[in-house]
Amino acid sequence: MNLWLIMLMGGLLTFLTRLSFIVLLEKAKLPPAFERALRLVPIAALSAIIAPQLAYYHDSLLISPTNPRLLAGILASLVAYRTKNVVATILVGMAAFWALEFFLKTQPLGG
């Protein structure tokens, strides 16, 4: 399946989700458990993709202070939690990542 087909199907499903209750159930009332589950979905899916991105460095699992992605990610998480600001989070995270990579290249810590 090529990229355009993926985008068309993803877009169509997204559109149908947005259209769903507008067309189907005019006096819609969702069960509260379903509503809560939907609110937790982005948290679950995004966390599941963040964790490996931080824990892997150069394609191998590295849960240690010598992993710049992990340290920069933790720092960015604190910034995101405190500021709720997307741009600040990315700027701090990228700056930390570059600084740590540079530091590790110049003085390798047992690695």
Partner: protein
């Protein structure tokens, strides 16, 4: 108080403007990342029009780069955007008397940011003859700024060397989206169990680890909420 359609449209557009401050950098970053993941410029732009949903576009770019099978990508995008069903249900009573083409148009524009502004207006004003024009104005402002900031990001992305490691801004973007929504224990537990499960299941075939980790974490979160509420 009932406004004519044009006044209603401009009011919606105007009320959406403050939100655009947060959306435009997001669109820029998307454009840059899509290019750094190897998407052709036209495809990166088309995704902003076809999928038109921030978080899932970032996710799609990342899954493409990781070589995820198409079906898993489509399923993941669908699951992430399922929350829009909530918006659809909330908006439904206000638009039930509109013709189908209006329902379709508003559904296409029903993003997190347009919903936030549009539903507030409905809740304040109730159903008015031109109320849907307000929603259309807010939604169109968001749509246009998303397309333009994507285009600007694609242009910028073409100038940035890969050696900068800009792909790391993708997990950072996700962190910026998740962290502010961790307010209760159930959310925190969901995030932790999703992270742990994703690491444990990472070697499952077809990148299915992502979907299983998401479902497992959802169950943990829901069980915890149920216990807290009873």
């Amino acid at each position: 108080m009932s406004r004519p359609p044009s006044a209603s449209f401009w009011a919606g557009l105007r009320d959406e403007l403050p939100i655009l401050l947060g959306v435009i950098p997001f669109g820029l970053i998307y454009g840059i990342l899509a290019l750094s993941a190897g998407l052709p410029p036209l495809d990166a732009q088309a995704m902003s029009a076809l999928v038109f949903a921030g978080a899932s576009q970032f996710m799609l770019v990342e899954l493409l780069r990781a070589g995820t099978p198409a079906l898993v990508i489509v399923l993941t995008v669908f699951v992430i955007n399922l929350r829009h069903a909530l918006y659809s249900a909330t908006l439904a009573p206000y638009v039930k008397n509109l013709p189908l083409r209006w329902k379709g148009l508003l559904a296409y524009l029903l993003t997190d940011e347009a919903f936030a502004v549009g539903i507030l207006n409905y809740q304040r004003q109730g159903v008015t003859p031109a109320g849907h024009w307000y929603f259309f104005g807010a939604g169109l402002a968001l749509w246009a700024s998303w397309q333009l900031s994507t285009a600007a990001g694609i242009f910028l992305g073409a100038q940035i060397p890969a050696a900068w490691g800009l792909d790391f801004s993708l997990p950072l973007t996700f962190i910026a989206l998740v962290m502010p929504s961790l307010k209760e224990r159930a959310g925190v537990a969901t995030a932790f169990s999703a992270s742990l499960a994703a690491l444990l299941l990472i070697n499952l075939p077809f990148k299915l680890g992502l979907i299983f980790a998401t479902l497992l974490a959802l169950m943990v979160g829901l069980l915890l909420e149920k216990r807290e509420n009873t």
